[in-house]
Symmetry: C2
Subunit: 254 residues, 2 copies
């Protein structure tokens, strides 16, 4: 049966399957427009369309004067359960973390602290009135000098205003322990993960290549009584992270 | 201090903040190029650039002859823990599920079953040799006729070949119960969530608008002995889903 896909799609599919199979490995040079025209006997427009589609799928670099390459994908494991369970529970997670480890990359972070009226979405999660203040600790984490992710954590100003949380340095004790000492122990967590394109501001802070979506991980922490005490918003570039979770089936599951 | 952003960015930021604040609500008409040119005293090229940026951020529709609108964002909650804990555990999750509920939308699904040699990535997760067969149950789930997500689940052929899993109908008992009856009880789960742009095939199956990223949720289930028994790959369009999780802090956490 003849292949009835449009020509540019045939070129795209050929390159995509070579990338997915590893025949074209991360960092490998992609054929130029001219080479694709010869190899596939297609027009320049068709070759361009195929390359542009692969760029928008995030599989190859944008070129911009240089030869295009297969994008490197060496994501780091991001484990939402680390806060409650510092160690992996299952052997499968151990293996996964080893495979997507960052241990040999040098970490660094920028921190700034400010007092502000948060967005309505944050105020709502923290149970605040629209004009109530929060203290926000903003961090960008880097690995080997490359921006890894953004983490901005909001605290109700009335709860933490006299604590070290307002100190714009790394806190040896951690904010959860400080909250606990203030009488607000985090008992439970609600996590939301939103998948979207980055805002321009996020693209700049994270130096994102075109066509790179992000996960927005919003974690709200509550006391046993249901008082929200923090809201942490992390922006994870999709090309640098894989979110990993582990669960047990309940013993009585049937 | 004068605003030193490029002009197109000033237009973009103005529209984006109106969308994020709700002043331009989902479904609202976006000013035309001509209206933006007049309102902001900018060139057509600048107006086009601003609209194109907002489209690529997924905030407005692509137009294509019609007036552009603020994209509707009525995501449905997707709860990875539902398989192990059918009911929400915390009051905060109850409220969240109510807010992002789908209960009043009519569900439907297409199922097909095939026997095939899976990709290397799936074979690796299932601990199979490269030429080993799997049975795959492919589903597209719809809500009110709109594609909601793809769910393709792979089972090692040698484990399930004589069971109902090869039956291309909805299975009243559920595949986990069938596996359990075959002597393979799912004891634990490893979840991976990858954030990326869709492939062309996914865009078609899900009728995705341009600039819509997806989450690829890969769930591998293991027996207590560590035998992988299934690998479920779900493709969740970012504009239709929010992933929700809940956790308890361990009682002994300090």
């Amino acid at each position: 049966m003849a292949n009835t896909d449009p020509l540019y799609m045939q070129v795209t599919n050929d390159l995509r399957s070579k990338i997915n199979s590893g025949e074209l490995a991360p960092g490998a040079t992609i054929p130029s427009e001219h080479e694709l025209m010869e190899q596939h006997q297609v027009s320049r427009h068709t070759a361009q369309k195929a390359l542009s589609l692969l760029t928008s799928e995030g599989l190859i670099t944008a070129g911009q004067g240089r030869r295009r390459e297969v994008r490197r994908r060496e994501p780091a494991a991001y484990r939402p359960q680390e806060e409650l369970l510092p160690r992996a529970q299952h052997p499968e997670m151990d293996q996964f973390l080893e495979r997507f480890s960052n241990e040999d990359r040098a970490p660094r972070q920028d921190i700034s602290v400010s007092v502000l009226v948060p967005s309505l979405a944050i105020a709502r999660r923290l149970g605040l009135a629209p004009e109530d203040l929060t203290i926000v600790r903003r961090r960008v984490r880097y690995l080997d000098g490359e921006a890894s992710y953004i983490n901005d954590t909001y605290f109700p100003h009335s709860l933490v205003k006299d604590s070290e949380i307002a100190d714009p340095r790394d806190l040896a004790r951690g904010t959860l322990r400080i909250l606990q000492d203030l009488g607000y122990r985090q008992d439970r967590i609600l996590d939301e993960i939103w998948i979207r394109m980055p805002t321009n501001d996020e693209s700049e802070r994270l130096s994102l290549p075109p066509g790179t979506p992000v996960a927005e991980h919003v974690r709200t922490g509550y006391t046993a009584e249901g008082t929200p005490i923090r809201c942490a918003v992390s922006i994870l570039p999709g090309d640098r992270h894989v979110i990993a979770l582990e669960f047990d089936m309940p013993a009585d599951w049937t």
